[in-house]
């Protein structure tokens, strides 16, 4: 009987360590910990061009991550891109004249939405819209414009 009991303990330890391993992967290695049970609200913004923005791209304000992009769709009437973002409920005092712009982290890094708070007193509500937006900077376009301009100046 003694033998079986140590065996049981070892099996228990094995299963426990496996589950701890899985838990470690979930909490420490993956992004699960930043998602768990966070209350959030949704806001939308229309961009002329959302560039390389992806679902799950970060949304930040003053350099601090406050939410994520949840959906990107194309409006067939206005030919704009509609970006839905879910923002952590802790930050529910964003004014309704907040500006949204798409920036790139570093020169070639991933793109993210940056929110610049305005001066209005009324906060953005759930499903609120951001009116003032600035599109993503497309590197090729910017380069093209720059080359075109420098060619003009030479004339």
């Amino acid at each position: 009987m003694q033998h079986t009991s140590t065996q049981d303990t070892l099996v228990g330890l094995f299963v426990a360590s496996g589950i701890i391993g899985l838990f470690f992967l979930a909490m420490q290695v993956s992004n699960l910990s930043s998602f768990v049970s966070e209350d959030s609200y949704t806001i939308t913004a229309r961009f002329e061009n959302s560039g390389g923005l992806k679902i799950k791209s970060p949304v930040s304000a003053a350099g601090v991550k406050i939410g994520r992009v949840t959906a990107i769709s194309f409006d067939p009437k206005t030919f704009e891109s509609i970006v839905k973002m879910s923002i952590n409920s802790k930050y529910n005092a964003l004014p309704d004249d907040t500006t949204a712009s798409i920036f790139t982290a570093g020169l070639l890094g991933e793109q993210y939405v940056n929110l610049d708070a305005g001066g209005s007193d009324t906060p953005l509500k759930n499903n609120g819209k951001i009116e003032i937006t600035q599109s993503a900077i497309i590197l090729e376009k910017a380069l093209g414009q720059f080359l075109f301009k420098s060619a003009e100046e030479k004339k």
């Binding site: 496996g18 899985l22 290695v29 993956s30």
Partner: protein, 260 residues
């Protein structure tokens, strides 16, 4: 020429017959799962021999694989000044591929071969027929507990492998090579998705556990009951398991990660 064609046809027929027997065998195993619930002690014993005894080889290999990955990745990444991405590189390759695949291969070598040899010897010494004589179904009594134990152990072992590997990678990366620890973890957390990466890795390891246990048990059960037959069956277990794991890994990867 005729002899060659005859041989070709014969061997094709034999392999299809074998596949048919293997499928029937699998159905028998699955049919016995419910009755296993009434006797959990059988399962516990097998969890010990299949899972606990593989624990050491899996954790030690995981540690070294993670350390090597970190070392190799560092040299490549530092060429681009992207050492901070070491964490996400180590974790992604472990969680998506190396964890399930390498632990599957080790599992086939460590536990699968033992299962085949055990069942094959039971058959050779007529223990299985003896059980049938006593009206004990050898599939329910011997095979199903081992199968379920393999199915439970494999995801746990793969998770352990990846977890230990990440820790090994962190030890080498941050301790030896001087990558910033905060960047290592934060890049990892932003790069690894729970559903897309970790759950898919667990699904992979479940599939590998299923296939490896099935092959190992069937080869043992189907072995020619001589010492040579058992030795051949053991070899076939390791070879076939390795092929199936690597082949299935390609298919699963294409299915899971292909859409992005």
């Amino acid at each position: 020429m005729t002899a060659f064609l005859e041989y070709l046809g014969q061997s094709t027929r034999i392999s299809f017959t074998k596949l048919g027997r293997a499928s029937y065998f699998l159905l028998q195993i699955l049919a016995g799962i419910l009755s296993l619930l009434a006797r959990p002690r059988l399962l516990l014993k097998q969890l010990y021999s299949v899972g606990v005894l593989s624990f050491l080889i899996i954790t030690i290999s995981g540690l070294f694989v993670g350390m090597v990955l970190s070392l190799q990745g560092y040299y490549t990444l530092s060429d681009f000044g992207a050492e901070e991405s070491l964490g996400v590189m180590v974790a992604a390759s472990l969680v998506r591929e190396l964890g399930p695949v390498v632990s599957g291969l080790l599992f086939a070598g460590r536990a699968g071969s033992a299962l085949t040899a055990e069942i094959g010897l039971m058959k050779a010494t007529e223990q299985l027929s003896g059980m049938e004589m006593m009206a004990v179904d050898p599939i329910r009594r011997i095979i199903t507990p081992r199968f379920v134990a393999g199915l439970i152990s494999m995801p746990l072992l793969a998770a352990l492998f990846s977890a230990v590997g990440v820790i090994g990678g962190q030890m080498v990366g941050c301790g030896l090579l001087g990558v910033d620890e905060g960047a290592f973890w934060s890049q990892m957390q932003s790069g690894i998705d729970f559903k897309d990466d970790i759950i898919n890795g667990v699904i992979k390891s479940l599939v590998f556990g299923f296939v490896t246990s099935w092959i190992a048990l069937f080869e043992g059960y189907d072995a020619i009951p001589t010492s040579e037959g058992v030795s051949r069956a053991t070899t076939r277990t390791v070879v076939n398991s390795a092929f199936s794991i690597l082949g299935l890994d390609f298919i699963l990867t294409a299915l899971m990660f292909g859409e992005h």
